[in-house]
Amino acid sequence: MSDFDINFGPWINYGNADKENKITEKMEELSTMPWSPFNGCDYAQIFIFCMSYAFAVGRKPVSPPSKGSGSMPASAFKRDMRDFMKAIAIAQTKDLDVITNPNEVVKICEGFAYASFLEVYDKIKNRDTSISNEMILDSILQEIDSKRNPKKN
């Protein structure tokens, strides 16, 4: 394991200081409520999903409000998740050296995740009740795939 993995964090901010939008409550809902496909998942998994979605749909990163530190432990981020974070940081800065600066990587990723969190929450929470947990994620996946390959549809 490289130093990058050890120095990562220690806490990642998903926007818990954003009281106005009740980000913490919404994150908790997504990870515990039966209507959420992320029911039973860690916050980190939701964070990565939102971050990737934001990048895919071209959102600009928005730094989440901060009260000094984040609230997700770095240990919740597994190897594949960290790889996604490195990829997004390299692609965003067009600079490989960014990965030697974990704080910068985290900052970029926090920006993307926060930029689309409410959008993802809204898509899931306010969907048609006939759409199952699996199919709502599937429809988000198809939305991205069809944007990338418009001819397919």
Binding site: P34, I48, A87
Partner: protein, 759 residues
């Protein structure tokens, strides 16, 4: 553990319908079987109760919840004999006792329980025919006549022992509590596996926990399981090493409490949510708050609901309307398929959801991944990566002392200063690499992304989303089809105009919905447990690293590592042993069942899965375990109980009440022929009625050539039999009381049939 255990004798004094003293000397297995014959309601089940009462202060036999007259009579019978207590003068003490002599290996134990009461004024109830009935009161665990007062509330319970060299029995109280000693001889948890009554045998396959407890307790696996739980707790380190390690330890503890549903003080944690109960009059019991105990609660409730649904099904079967019956039959068949599809859908759904959550980011980040891989490859083509190779290259040059172009690279230090500029350049180049080791992770990153994703994009999409989506859609479609079919049949049943049917259907629907909800809850908790388990593993790794950094904590770290190793070893041994015993019991049950059952070719396989669910598949691969006839169920139970002993080496006495009552002629014939070969070296006592034991086997249309030989005579051909007969007095002073005396199997010339009669 493997010392053979046998009951030598039992002596009853004024116990239930046995007035005065009655003693039975049982045959050892070498001497043959002991047969105790008696009509229903004359005292067979109370012999089992006498054993249970003496050993465990319980009387669970023959108290069934049905309306059979001898059951209801038994429920209202005092533990103290009616005649004895009625004839005793007031204010005198009365004693009821049961004494059992048991042999374990070379030791003999004398176990006795005595209940002593003072008789005051007895209370009676006048019946409609003018007769008086003694009123009974429940006093703690004993039912005694109203108007009596117990002197020794918990009964005098004494265990005495006589070893091979001992001249006489001596009290064991100096060694240990008598209950502890008894637990070592015949544990209460196993009593239902050696004191087998008809009700237990009939309901055996309705409760899968019986299978689990049987296998785990008889093989003592529960001890290993407790040890495993104990060692698991040792894996949480103590605090006080440092702030960060304390935080990690607290996190591990919190996760562990969640897993075991404990509060901060280590007490079991419950919710305010009451558990489901089949009888509304039962007291409320609450669910555990979290983790594995909550899963166990939910699983138990689901099993109870399944049983209730089976009861409803049998109630449906009693509805005497042919159309309803046919509909119900169709309903059951579709319901079976529906349940299977539901399980299948759940598993497919979980796999698909996992992919959507953890694999979608690859697709979302395809552009980012391709871009970053391009940037990494560009740097690699420039020779920038890997950094460790560049550093190695610089080191090699300095070590060689000359460049590949021939330039001199020997160090020339004058006055602490390097004067060879080329060496200085290489040193600068090398120093610039400091802090850039992280870049090497990009090389692996590129490989992983290219190898697992970019080069196989279409396959990646197909495997992770395309195929699972098709499977999910197909399974969901089939599930909905079956659900609609069931709904259609339900409507037809409701329209059949039968109110009772409608109520049953409503209850059935409610239970099915509840079971569905329980499944979802269990899935959620399992998922949570799995996630938290991962989290705990991460914390443990971090803690281990932190502890290794601290010299003072090395000892603790070492201890933790050892506990980890111990835990893993125990877990491995537990899993292997459990698996081995389960498979042995499974194979032996199947072998025994095939031997005992006449038409065993109807069935294809018998399986006990690792979660102890049981499958008895017929030739069409349909699980018949819940649809066995009474006879098949009894035979399979006997086969299982016999199988339990073989791999576990546990040899305890088996006392079986009314084993043949509900078995058809052909199977009775088989049991009579093969039972003597069963369980060699183990003591067997049968409590039987004349009809099931001594009467000619009734004709069986499926087996017209079947001999009529009674079971007793079949047994007699292979093994010595010692008979006793229980008889209830019908007149005189002892009316209503039973006597037990030695008997034999004789041919009655008047009735032209065999019977068990007093010697």
């Amino acid at each position: 553990m493997s010392h053979p255990i046998r009951i030598i004798s039992i002596e009853l004094e004024n116990y239930r319908q046995y007035f005065g003293k009655h003693k039975i000397d049982f045959s050892s297995r070498a001497e043959g079987f002991t047969i105790i014959a008696g009509k229903n309601g004359e005292g067979k089940s109370n012999l089992l109760n006498a054993i249970s009462w003496c050993l465990y202060h319980q009387e669970p036999h023959g108290m069934g919840d049905d309306s059979r007259s001898h059951h209801s009579e038994n429920r209202s019978l005092s533990v103290i004999n009616n005649r004895y207590i009625t004839e005793l003068p007031e204010e005198k003490t009365a004693t009821t006792s049961v004494k059992i002599w048991i042999q374990k290996g070379d030791d003999v134990y004398s176990i006795s329980r005595v209940l002593t009461v003072i008789k005051h004024k007895l209370e009676f109830k006048e019946l409609s025919d003018g007769k008086k009935s003694l009123l009974i009161t429940n006093f703690t665990t004993d039912k005694i006549p109203k108007g009596c007062e117990i002197i020794n509330q918990f009964g005098d319970f004494v265990v005495k022992k006589k070893g091979p060299g001992d001249p006489d029995f001596h009290d064991t109280i100096k060694d240990a509590d008598p209950h502890t000693i008894l637990e070592e001889i015949l544990p209460i948890g196993l009593s239902k596996y050696f004191l087998l009554d008809g009700e237990f045998l009939e309901g055996f396959w309705k409760d899968p926990t019986i299978i689990q407890k049987g296998i785990e307790q008889i093989s003592q696996l529960h001890l290993l399981s407790s040890l495993k739980d104990h060692v698991d707790k040792m894996r949480i380190p103590s605090k006080g090493i440092g702030k960060h390690t304390d935080t990690l330890t607290t996190k591990i503890q919190i996760l562990s409490w969640y897993e075991q549903s404990l509060d901060e003080d280590g007490n079991e944690k419950f919710t305010q949510e009451p558990r489901w109960k089949s009888d509304p009059n039962d007291p409320d019991v609450y669910y555990h708050a979290t983790g594995k105990p909550r899963i166990i609660d939910l699983t138990e409730d689901k099993k109870k609901m399944e049983d209730r649904i089976k009861e409803i099904s049998s109630q449906f079967a009693k509805v005497n309307v042919p159309t309803v019956k046919l509909l119900k039959q169709t309903y059951d068949e579709i319901n079976q398929e529906f349940e299977n599809e539901e399980k299948n859908l759940r598993s497919i759904r979980n796999a698909y959801r996992y992919n959507l959550i953890s694999r979608s980011p690859y697709v979302f980040l395809k552009d980012a991944i391709e871009s970053s891989v391009g940037i990494i490859e560009e740097r690699m083509s420039l020779g920038d990566l890997p950094v460790r190779q560049r550093r190695q290259f610089a080191d090699d040059l300095l070590q060689r002392g000359n460049c590949i172009c021939g330039e001199d690279l020997h160090s020339q230090i004058i006055g602490n200063k390097e004067t060879n500029k080329r060496v200085t350049n290489i040193n600068n180049f090398r120093n610039n690499l400091t802090g850039k080791d992280d870049l090497d992770s990009a090389v692996d990153l590129r490989y992983d992304f290219k190898h697992d994703f970019i080069d196989k994009y279409d396959t990646f999409l197909k495997l992770n989303f395309g195929d699972p989506r098709i499977k999910f859609t197909n399974s969901e479609t089939r599930y909905l089809e079956l659900k609609n079919k069931l709904a259609g049949i339900t409507i037809q049943l409701q329209n059949s105009g039968d109110n009772e049917t409608e109520t049953l259907i409503q209850e059935q629907e409610y239970l099915l919905q509840q079971m569905c909800d329980i499944d979802s809850k269990i899935s959620e908790i399992k998922l949570n447990l799995a996630m938290k388990n991962k989290e705990m593993t991460d914390y443990r790794i971090q803690l281990d690293k932190e502890l290794k950094k601290n010299a003072l904590a090395k000892k603790l770290s070492h201890e933790l590592t050892k506990w980890e190793e111990v835990f893993e070893h125990i877990s491995q041994v537990y899993d292997e042993l459990k698996n081995e015993i389960r498979i042995d019991v499974q194979n032996n049950t199947w072998k025994n069942f095939q031997e005992l059952l006449v038409n065993s070719t109807e069935f294809e396989t018998f399986k006990i899965e690792s979660d102890y669910s049981v499958y008895l598949l017929d030739n069409n691969n349909v699980n018949k375990i819940r649809n066995l006839s009474a006879g098949q169920s009894l035979i399979l139970t006997l086969a299982f109980v016999a199988a339990l002993r073989e791999p576990t080496g546990y040899k305890f006495p088996l006392v079986v009440d009314s084993p043949l009552g509900k078995i058809d002629s052909a199977n009775r014939y088989n049991i009579g022929t093969y039972l003597p070969d069963f369980l060699p070296d183990e003591q067997l006592t049968l409590l039987v009625t004349d009809t099931e034991y001594a009467a000619d086997l009734p004709p069986d249309p499926d087996y017209p050539k079947l001999p009529k030989t009674p079971v007793g005579k079949l047994l007699e051909q292979k093994i010595a039999l010692k008979h006793f007969k229980i008889q209830k007095e019908k007149s005189g002073l002892n009316k209503g009381n039973s006597t037990i005396k030695p008997a034999k199997l004789v041919f009655n010339n008047e009735k032209l049939g065999w019977m068990v009669d007093f010697v």
